[in-house]
């Protein structure tokens, strides 16, 4: 049952890919003829068969005198790459966190990443690469892999190689695979417990006029070179912003969001090198409280919950050439069988994904665990 559903979903995805080039679909659109051809091949008897559009496109091409390969080649890589060989491996790490500034709720930080790979290589070589982490950080855990992966270390092992820069031993996880031609996600990983990269405090009080203070401190191990770093402070159930006063420090880059209901504080590329701390203090005045109709429009649970002092701010940032877990691909560990010459490109980045700081003076949404939290006493 579930494989059938998944096959149907992959067929729909294939259909979307075929139609993706169409700006506007009309009965005369060539994409519709293409779609029909795609369906003829992908589901000749109604049930999905091979649904990858690029593989199917390759099948249609009729080449005379095509020689039979000496060994069986993967069906998921029908085409043979011609040109200079290139291997591009990129680690995209995401961090999401919720900070409460409360004694009874622990702050939460989740760190997870994906290794994206594009292998334009002649032949069908097997690739082996090592994902390494420094020994002082938590191991890469919870590895889930692409179906082309032949083997991967279930547990991290102490690597033979040492880091070129620090000469410290690394833990590594070896992954062996044979890659398809298109870009694919080689594996996903998670690291726990994760370090909170930017510790933050958000304090806000007031009614029609509020005073708020945001303080952020970058952890010393984090690369202080952001592609972007900004704080968005949304205001729910308060009407639109009439004016902002008493901005401190005065040099900060602060603007009102396009909906007039949020502030956007652009921190820039770096935190101050010495202190690694930034702060913002501002007074915000709102026009008037929104009507009931306006309130109804805010349908999300967050928006409904954010009444009175219940509020939060969100951090958006991206750091290139850095991973919070310390995860990297050791270029010396990459081996190809059979060996060929290729150009290697490695990349890594850390991006925030839902990085929230709740107001210290308000209540917050969260799921604490194994903690003795008394139910709010309302009756007595």
């Amino acid at each position: 049952m579930i494989p059938s559903v998944a096959a149907a979903v992959s067929l729909l995805e294939g259909m979307m890919e075929v139609l993706s080039s169409a700006v506007k679909l009309e009965t005369s659109s060539p994409q519709l003829a293409e779609l029909y051809q795609y369906l003829c091949l992908a589901a000749p008897f109604g049930t999905p068969n091979e649904t990858n559009p690029s593989n199917l496109k390759f099948q249609i091409q009729f080449r005379k005198g095509l020689a039979m390969p000496k060994e069986k080649i993967p069906s998921w890589r029908p085409a043979v790459y011609k040109g200079s060989s290139k291997l591009n491996v990129r680690i995209k790490e995401e961090v999401r966190a919720v900070q409460y500034d409360k004694e009874d709720i622990e702050d939460i930080c989740q760190l997870y990443g994906s290794v994206l790979c594009k292998a334009e290589l002649e032949g069908h070589p097997d690739i082996v690469l090592n994902l390494t982490t420094p020994p002082d950080s938590s191991h890469l855990d919870h590895l889930t892999v692409h179906s082309c992966v032949q083997s991967s270390d279930a547990e991290p092992v102490l690597a033979d190689t040492t880091n070129r820069h620090t000469d410290t031993p690394h833990y590594s996880r070896s992954v062996r695979f044979s890659a398809p031609l298109e870009t694919f996600t080689l594996c996903h990983y998670q690291q726990s417990p994760a370090l909170i990269p930017i510790r933050g405090f958000y304090q806000m009080k007031g009614d029609r006029t509020i005073e708020l203070l945001v303080q952020l401190k970058l952890h010393e191990t984090i690369r202080n070179n952001f592609e972007y770093c900004e704080v968005v402070i949304p205001f729910f159930n308060r009407g639109t912003i009439e004016k902002i006063d008493n901005i401190s420090p005065t040099s900060v880059s602060l603007c009102i969001g396009p909906d007039n209901k949020s502030l956007v504080w652009n921190i820039g590329q770096k935190f101050p090198v010495k202190s690694l701390e930034v702060s913002l203090s501002v007074t915000v005045t709102f026009t008037e409280f929104p009507s009931e109709e306006e309130e109804e429009r805010d349908k999300t649970v967050d928006a409904k919950f954010c009444v009175e002092q219940n509020s939060y701010c969100e951090l958006n940032f991206k750091i290139s050439d850095f991973t919070l877990s310390g995860c990297q691909i050791d270029p010396r560990s990459i081996t190809l069988f059979p060996s060929i010459k290729y150009k290697l490109t490695l990349g890594r980045e850390l991006v925030s994904s839902g990085y929230r700081i709740w107001n210290s003076h308000g209540d917050a949404l969260g799921i604490p665990f194994i903690r003795n939290e008394p139910v709010e006493e309302i009756i007595n």
């Binding site: 000749p44 099948q59 095509l66 039979m68 060994e71 069906s75 889930t144 839902g354």
Partner: protein, 913 residues
């Protein structure tokens, strides 16, 4: 895409009718397109699609089917090396489709066998046939045929195996898929042969050699493909086999070669795309279930793909584990798989539905295993199952479901406290009054924890539920549902008793103004409290007393509130003793309600309850409502609220589809004006004083129809005619007629108020009472308001002279406003029409048609044109200027309501025709 495709697909029959052709002709045309060199590949593919999709309609004749099959086969033979690969492949698909779907399957068996031979010939040309799409499609066609007629290819499995080994290009998976399917059916055949009666000629020796000989041969097949004997019967047996190990091949069967074949498939699995891998592994699993082979050969697949994030493969591996509970994994492997499953259930990179499926698999495996393995694993390993703030509601639910199962017998206080803190956190949105998914989640979890954990947790849940009710009475329905579920599933009344008594005590402390804020919910709670044996009845009674005596509910007279109060009082009647102060209080409250509640229904019911309370003893009442057989219905009725909408609506109204009445229009007479205007100014003044509506009095005659059903009496009573509404008219009032007898004609006048003078039609429904007392309803012929009936003569003195002036005035006014656009409210418009009618004939027609309606019609002029002025109440005009143009007439139209133009055009066309 060719329009032919759309037209035919939407309605084949109307397509044939429209194109004046028949099925035979169309099929010939389609075949001609397929043979044609100058037609596009897209069109040809569409034609093949039409044949596949509408084969049953187009080829319902055996001769036509044979013609099409023969033609398609010829196309393959002749164009195989030259035509586009996709076209050729779709021809193969179409032939397969037609052969398998036809109603003449038995008749076309020779064609089928011949086609299988052709397909085999295509797939055998591994090296010479470079058209890989054609070969892969031929494999798919053979697989489809084998799936439809399982066992057909049994005798050539070895031959297929040879081809699988030889094919190295990317299409090898199609060969493997075909081979796996045929092999699976072959093994199933061997398994079921000893279990069937003597339907098949095979003896034991044949059976035992089937797998050995058929699988591995010299690599050649007979020149002509021959199906196995009795393959139809065999295929039905194979198709019915379930996916389990109930039927196996005999132990004596040599399976060594079978093992080699399976190993070959398993070893090459990593080269297949996901869909083929899933299909082939499914076949391999089925083969192993049918054989006595050990599933351990699948272990490598299981361990490799169980950490794969592809949901299809991953599910397949778990299905494998469930099917082969023993013999595939040792304890260490089990632990690895379990760990991976737990990882999947909380992995932030995976979509939430995949995490949810992972947890459901965990629960499934936990239930399947004889021992509860989750509770024995290291708590660190269970970390991904810990609920976190980022979890979607569904994931949170599944995680807590799993964890509560693991820790249900735990005596660790920290863990129980942890569960409590989760509840505490989840109640926060509800304390802010947020309903929807957070509310559903919390109540589900409260029920789960109440059923799972001990008394300490139960008390905590009661407190959470009470807190929510106190903070937001809007959650009363959910809380009452929770209490009802707990008492039903666990036969536990203490929960509802404790929550209700706590909340009711709090309600007692409220000021009346606070109590009235969410009164409907508080009254629901009072009713529930009155029902509960755990709550002292005096408490809800005191709350009700406060509401009735101290608030203004009686003066306001809201029926819903009154009904809720009566429901609570009625429930209390059952439990309160009939003597003593409580009964007096109850009687007083009912008396107050019966005297002062503004709604008459509530007053009446309060009086009835009071009478019952005063006349029926408490014992009798309780017995009546709770013990006897009849009482269960009565009790339900009381519980549900007497006289509220839970009672079924009486079905005494009989609906008659034919009309019982004949309604005929009598002669329509136009209104006569009581005054007349002396000049244009006077007329303009009169128009401005006209109301915005105009009443049309339509005289009609109604009588009983002779075609009425026999059971309808010859005299019907209380006849009510109800009219439908129309956007330009006010809904006409109902017309009531005391009675109508057969042969009697009753004159009625239907008064219809027009807002805009547009033609309209009014549907009429008749309701009457038959002489046996039944109420019946039937439709009547609709009343039509025709356009010409709306024409009136303007009230002018010295009509001709004044009308001329008025015509010129209005024409100039409309033209002026139309051109200047100075008047924003201008609704006027000018238009021109040419009528295929001579000048003289048009004039005669107008005189003929318009005279009965007394409009202004200027006589023929010498210069060759004449004018018409029509007045349409309440204050609109139509002006016509007619002039000759050879044999036709040109009519210029001006109106002060542009929406009239289409009606004018239609009316003029009717005149000219």
């Amino acid at each position: 895409m060719d329009p032919l495709w759309y037209e035919f697909r939407s309605s084949p029959a109307s397509f044939l009718q429209k194109n004046r052709t028949n099925v035979e002709g169309l099929v010939h045309d389609l075949l001609q397109i397929l043979y044609s060199d100058d037609k596009t590949i897209t069109l040809k593919l569409n034609v093949l699609g039409i044949l596949q999709e509408h084969g049953s309609f187009l080829l319902d004749d055996i001769n036509r089917l044979e013609l099409v099959l023969g033609t398609l086969k010829n196309i393959v033979k002749e164009q195989r090396n030259t035509a586009e690969p996709i076209y050729m492949s779709q021809v193969l698909v179409t032939i397969t489709d037609l052969l398998l779907q036809t109603q003449f399957l038995e008749s076309v068996q020779p064609y089928l066998i011949e086609f299988v031979s052709m397909l085999l010939e295509i797939i055998e040309k591994l090296k010479t046939e470079t058209n890989r799409l054609l070969r892969s499609t031929a494999c798919d066609c053979l697989k489809e045929i084998e799936l439809s007629i399982p066992g057909l290819l049994c005798d050539i499995v070895g031959h297929l195996f040879g081809m699988c080994q030889a094919e190295n290009s990317f299409i090898h998976q199609h060969y493997m898929g075909l081979f796996a399917t045929a092999l699976c059916h072959n093994v199933q055949k061997v398994a079921i042969l000893p279990n069937t009666e003597s339907n098949f000629p095979d003896d034991e020796g044949t059976v035992s050699s089937s797998l050995r000989d058929v699988l591995f041969h010299d690599g050649r097949r007979p020149q002509v493909f021959e199906p196995p004997p009795k393959y139809w019967k065999l295929s039905k047996h194979i198709a019915k086999m379930p996916l389990n190990d109930a039927i196996k091949v005999p132990d004596s069967t040599d399976q060594s070669e079978l093992m080699k074949a399976i190993s070959f498939l398993v070893d090459h699995c990593h080269l297949f795309t996901t869909h083929f891998m899933v299909q082939i592994i499914l076949k391999v699993m089925r083969i192993i279930l049918c054989s006595t082979l050990s599933p351990v050969m699948l272990k490598s697949l299981l361990l490799r793909y169980s950490c794969c994030y592809d949901i299809q493969l991953w599910n397949m591996m778990l299905l494998m584990k469930v099917l082969f509970t023993e013999g595939i994994c040792d304890e260490k492997d089990e632990l690895v798989i379990l760990r991976r499953l737990i990882i999947m259930s909380g992995h932030p990179c995976l979509p939430s539905h995949q995490c949810a499926i992972a947890i459901q698999w965990l629960l499934q495996l936990e239930n399947d295993e004889p021992k509860q393995f989750l509770s024995e694993v290291d708590s660190h390993m269970l970390e991904p199952l810990q609920p976190v703030v980022f979890d979607a509601d569904e994931i949170l639910w599944f995680k807590l479901l799993t964890l509560s199962g693991i820790y249900q017998d735990s005596s660790n206080d920290d863990i129980i406290t942890g569960f409590k803190s989760v509840l505490g956190a989840l109640q926060k949105p509800l304390l802010c009054g947020i309903s929807g998914s957070p509310c559903r989640l919390l109540y589900r979890i409260m029920l789960l924890f109440f059923e799972t954990f001990d008394d300490d947790m139960k008390k905590y849940i009661e407190r959470v539920a009470a807190n929510i009710l106190v903070a937001h009475a809007e959650f009363t329905p959910q809380s009452l549902d929770l209490m009802a579920l707990v008492s039903k599933r666990m036969e536990n009344e203490t929960m509802s008793g404790s929550i209700l008594s706590e909340v009711c005590q709090w309600l007692q402390t409220l000021e009346i103004s606070e109590l009235c804020l969410k009164l409907e919910y508080h009254l629901c709670l009072c009713t529930a409290a009155a029902k509960s044996k755990q709550v002292w009845p005096q408490i809800p009674l005191q709350i009700l007393k406060k509401v009735i005596m101290d608030s203004s509910v009686c003066q306001e007279g809201d029926w819903d509130i009154g009904n809720a109060i009566l429901l609570a009082l009625c429930t209390l009647m059952k439990v309160l003793p009939s003597d003593g102060t409580a009964a007096k209080d109850l009687a007083n409250l009912l008396l107050t309600m019966s005297k002062s509640f503004m709604d008459i229904d509530i007053r009446d019911r309060a009086r009835i309850y009071l009478q019952i309370l005063l006349t029926v003893s408490n014992e009798k009442l309780s017995a009546l409502l709770s013990e006897s057989e009849i009482s269960s219905d009565l009790s339900q009725a009381v519980d549900a609220g007497i006289s509220n909408n839970v009672y079924p609506i009486s079905s005494s109204v009989k609906t008659i589809s034919t009309s019982v009445f004949i309604l005929e229009r009598a002669e329509y007479r136009h209104n006569k004006w009581t005054n007349s205007c002396i000049d244009v100014d006077d007329y303009c003044q009169w128009i401005s004083e006209q109301p915005n509506m105009f009443v049309l009095h339509i005289p009609c005659i109604i009588s009983l129809s002779k075609g009425k059903p026999d059971w309808v009496s010859d005299k019907v009573y209380a006849v009510v005619l109800q009219f439908s509404s129309s956007s330009s008219y006010i809904k006409p009032p109902d017309i009531r007629i005391p009675s109508i007898s057969m042969g009697e004609e009753v004159s009625i006048i239907v008064n219809i108020k027009a807002v805009k003078p547009f033609p309209a039609s009014f549907e009429i429904k008749g309701i009457f009472t038959n002489d046996d007392g039944d109420t019946c309803t039937c439709p009547l012929e609709p009343i039509q308001i025709y356009f010409h009936e709306l024409f009136h003569s303007p009230p002018l003195d010295n009509a001709k002279a004044s009308a001329k002036g008025l015509f010129n005035f209005l024409w100039a006014k409309i033209k002026n406003e139309e051109h200047s656009r100075s008047c924003p409210t201008n609704e006027g418009a000018l238009s021109v029409m040419r009528l295929e009618l001579s000048y003289q004939k048009l004039h005669d027609s107008l005189v003929n048609k318009l005279t009965p309606y007394c409009p202004y019609l200027q006589p023929l002029k010498d210069e060759g044109s004449y004018e018409v002025l029509l007045f349409l109440p309440p204050h609109y005009h139509i002006l016509l200027k007619c002039s000759p143009d050879d044999t036709t007439s040109v009519v210029e139209i001006a109106t002060d309501l542009w929406m009239l133009l289409p009606f004018v055009g239609e009316w003029l066309k009717n005149i000219s025709s």
